[in-house]
């Protein structure tokens, strides 16, 4: 199935969940990412049991704590 992740089209296996997508996307530190799924921020404790559907749009938003 096709997803849009950070603006780019991505082909993934049917029925994967958000945790699995983060692995596919080679996100090394999932704790440092906030996930927006179809415009809604997803609770962190729902990454495992949120199954993605064809056509879903996701934004992986990185925590950035720097400033100095």
């Amino acid at each position: 199935m096709k997803l849009t992740v950070n603006g780019e089209s991505v082909d993934v296996g049917d029925g994967i969940n958000v945790t699995e997508l983060l692995k596919v996307q080679e996100v090394k530190m999932p704790d440092m990412v906030s996930v927006e799924l179809n415009g809604e921020i997803l609770d962190r404790d729902k990454f495992d049991n949120t199954t993605l559907n064809d056509g879903d749009t996701l934004e992986l938003l990185y925590f950035m704590g720097g400033g100095a």
């Binding site: 704790d31 927006e36 609770d43 925590f63 950035m64 704590g65 720097g66 400033g67 100095a68």
Partner: protein, 269 residues
């Protein structure tokens, strides 16, 4: 407050803009902006705000100038090594523009002083270098009803968004709570391309100026991300979240508290 002849000349390139004009310049001179942090983001933001004639600029930072700061923190000079950053930043701002009243706070923003610090300001610029302070700025600004600009930088990447409390998505709508302390690569050792701070801090100053002028459109409900390595900007639509712990319909954060300080763990990267 009428502009003096010197001011009319100093700000002539502003005044000639129909969106600013003499009236807008007077608004800027009456404006008050607080910089949280006088580092990579706070330096360019402060210098441009001073040049623009923002009349009162507060700057809070507990650190002193270190040699490793000078690669990007352009408000400080080699002669300032060892001085409180608020002092050298204040001097730099006053040198650019003696019109500006600079107030310095050589301390760290904490839950017990945050509301007092921001009370007198119109707009807050988050140039902090750690998550506890970034979340504290978001919480304090929400509780006090002050607009602010969030920004973060890391390596070659930056992000920023503007928040108008109770009108637009807040920092916690997007990031909810600080990441676990053992996974944070935000410390200075993680590295940052110096000029990146200039790009992002200058965007923050732009937002403060437009907010004071009441002109144009703010960077609200949008997270702007910048990847210097590829020179790409992306704008991600974000919206207020019903379940936001700060600005949602049933908030759990109704007073300030200090978040736990993250420890840098380089092995995690």
């Amino acid at each position: 407050m009428a502009l003096t002849e010197d001011q009319i000349e100093r700000y002539s390139r502003h005044i000639i803009l129909s969106e600013v004009g003499g009236e807008g310049q007077e608004k800027l001179l009456g404006g008050k902006v607080l910089l949280v942090g006088a580092g990579g983001l706070g330096s360019p933001a402060g210098l441009y705000l001073a040049a623009a004639g923002v009349g009162t600029i507060g700057v809070i930072d507990g650190d002193v100038v270190d040699l490793s700061n000078l690669q990007r923190q352009i408000a400080h000079t080699t002669e300032d090594l060892g001085k409180p950053k608020v002092e050298s930043a204040a001097n730099a701002m006053r040198d650019i523009n003696p019109d500006v009243n600079v107030r310095t706070y050589h301390t760290r923003m904490m839950a017990d002083n945050a509301l007092d610090l921001i009370a007198d300001y119109d707009f807050v610029i988050d140039g902090a270098d750690n998550f506890p302070t970034k979340f504290l700025v978001a919480d304090a600004c929400h509780l006090a009803g002050k607009a602010y600009s969030h920004a973060g930088i890391l390596r070659f990447d930056g992000q920023t968004m503007t928040v108008v409390p109770n009108e637009s998505a807040c920092y916690r709508c997007v990031f909810v709570k600080p990441p676990p302390t053992n996974s944070v690569p935000s410390c200075s050792q993680a590295g940052v391309l110096g000029v990146l701070a200039g790009v992002v801090g200058t965007i923050q100053a732009t937002e403060a100026i437009k907010y004071i002028l009441g002109t144009g459109g703010l960077l609200t409900n949008r997270l702007l991300t910048y990847t210097a390595l590829n020179m790409t900007f992306r704008e991600i639509k974000v919206k207020r979240q019903e379940r936001c712990p700060l600005c949602g319909s049933d908030p759990t954060i109704t007073e300030l508290h200090d978040e736990v300080e993250a420890v840098c763990d380089l092995s995690a990267r």
